[in-house]
C-alpha cells in the first residue's frame, strides 16, 4: 500500500484545488522557507483525523482554513482528500483504493467521508488501523519533532512499538 494522491482545497496556503500524485519509492518535496512544504505534511495528518490543532500549528482547528492574502479573500471551508493505493494489502478486500476526505468550515462544522460515503472519525481510524497506519501517525515525523523520540520517556517509546505491532 502507498499514498496515491492528495487533493487540497482551502487548506492553509492552498486556497484553490491542488492535486498531487505520488508514486512508490522516494519523493522529495523541496522549496524555500515558507513556501508550503510542511503545509502538505499537515494536510495529510489532518485528513487522516488529527484532533489536536497544535499538531498542525493552529490554536483552533479553523486556523487551517485559508485565511486570505494579497488580492485574495479568505475561504470559508477547508477540504483535504487522501487516496491510498491498497492493491495487495489486507485492507483491500473490497477496494483497490481507499479515499479519506475531511472538511471543516468557519463555524467549526466538519465531516469525514470514506470512499465517498459520509462516516465518523472512528470509521477512519479503524480503516487506517487495518492499513497499519496507527492512531498516533508515528509514521509522520513533523518538522522539529525528530529529537523528541530521544527525549521522550521509555514508556512513550514502548507505546510507539505497541501501536506499530
Amino acid at each position: 500500500m502507498h499514498l496515491k494522491s492528495i487533493s487540497i482545497k482551502g487548506f492553509k496556503s492552498f486556497p484553490d484545488r491542488m492535486n498531487l500524485v505520488f508514486s512508490p519509492g522516494v519523493s522529495v518535496i523541496v522549496g524555500p522557507n515558507g513556501c508550503g512544504k510542511s503545509n502538505i505534511t499537515d494536510a495529510v495528518l489532518w485528513a487522516l483525523g488529527e484532533q489536536s490543532p497544535t499538531t498542525v500549528r493552529g490554536s483552533t482547528m479553523q486556523d487551517v482554513i485559508y485565511n486570505g492574502g494579497a488580492g485574495q479573500k479568505p475561504r470559508r471551508e477547508a477540504e483535504v482528500e487522501v487516496v491510498l493505493d491498497a492493491t495487495g494489502s489486507a485492507a483491500a478486500e473490497q477496494f483497490a483504493e481507499i479515499s479519506i476526505r475531511r472538511t471543516l468550515d468557519r463555524d467549526g462544522h466538519g465531516s469525514y467521508h470514506l470512499n465517498g460515503a459520509r462516516c465518523r472519525l472512528a470509521d477512519v481510524i479503524e480503516t487506517l488501523a487495518d492499513a497499519n497506519l496507527g492512531g498516533d501517525m508515528h509514521s509522520v515525523i513533523g518538522q522539529g519533532k525528530v529529537e523528541s523520540i530521544v527525549l521522550s520517556k521509555p514508556r512513550e517509546r514502548r507505546l510507539l512499538v505497541e501501536e506499530a505491532a
Binding site: H2, S13, S23, S27, K37
Partner: protein, 199 residues
C-alpha cells in the same frame, strides 16, 4: 507463545543495533526492555522508631528508580535506548549532540519500521541537525528501504534532493498561494547513494 508486541520488539532490537552500526561507524547501541516493576507503596509497619530503612522496598527498587527517578508512580515498563558512539564511553543520551540525537531517533524509527512497516513515511526536515556525511548515511537508508515503504521527505537542502525518485518543487506565489510542480528523476545504475554491495 509470545505476544505481538514481544515479536515486534525483538525484531526492532536486532534492527536497532545494526542501524546504529551503519549510522555511527565504530559505535554500538541497543534497545532494552525495562520490565514493569511492582509499585512501591508505603505500608505502615511496626518498625523500630530509629529504623530508617524504607518499609516497602522489594529487591527491584533500584531498577524502578533507574527507570524513572522523577516519577515514583512510573511502573518502569518502557524501552530504554543506549548508544555509544565510536571511542566514547557510554553515558546519558541527553549528553549526545544535536546531530547524534537525530541519528539515534532515526535509527529507532527505522528499527520499528523494519519490524512492522507502515505503508508510507513522511519525514519533515529530519536531517536539519545532520552534517553532510551523516545526511548521506541517512539517505542511504532511505534508498535501501524504499522497496518496502514509500518515503516522502520534506527538505530545504539540496543534498537530500539527490535521493529522490520524484521531486516536488514548491513555490509561494502572490496572495500567499503555494504552487507545486513535479519531476521524475532518472536514477542511474551507478547510484552514489547506494553501495554496490548488497544492502
Amino acid at each position: 507463545i509470545r505476544t505481538l508486541f514481544e515479536q515486534t520488539f525483538d525484531a526492532a532490537q536486532d534492527n536497532f543495533s545494526e542501524l546504529i552500526e551503519h549510522l555511527f561507524p565504530g559505535g554500538r547501541g541497543r534497545l532494552r526492555l525495562l520490565e514493569p516493576t511492582p509499585k512501591l507503596v508505603p505500608v505502615p509497619m511496626a518498625t523500630a522508631p530509629d529504623s530508617d530503612a524504607p518499609a516497602a522496598a522489594p529487591a527491584a527498587a533500584t531498577e524502578a528508580d533507574e527507570a524513572d527517578p522523577d516519577e515514583p508512580g512510573d511502573d518502569g515498563a518502557g524501552i530504554e535506548i543506549e548508544v555509544t558512539p565510536a571511542g566514547k564511553a557510554s553515558r546519558r543520551l541527553s549528553l549526545l549532540s544535536g546531530g547524534e540525537k537525530s541519528l539515534v531517533a532515526l535509527a529507532f524509527v527505522f528499527s520499528v519500521f523494519l519490524a512492522r512497516p507502515s505503508p508510507f513515511y513522511i519525514l519533515d526536515e529530519v536531517e536539519a541537525a545532520l552534517d553532510d556525511a551523516n545526511i548521506d548515511r541517512f539517505l542511504q537508508l532511505v534508498r535501501r528501504f524504499s522497496d518496502r515503504a514509500q518515503f516522502v521527505v520534506v527538505t530545504h537542502q539540496k543534498r537530500t534532493m539527490d535521493a529522490a525518485d520524484v521531486l516536488y518543487g514548491v513555490t509561494m506565489g502572490s496572495g500567499g498561494i503555494s504552487k507545486v510542480i513535479s519531476r521524475r528523476l532518472p536514477r542511474s545504475e551507478q547510484d552514489p547513494l547506494e553501495p554496490t554491495a548488497a544492502a
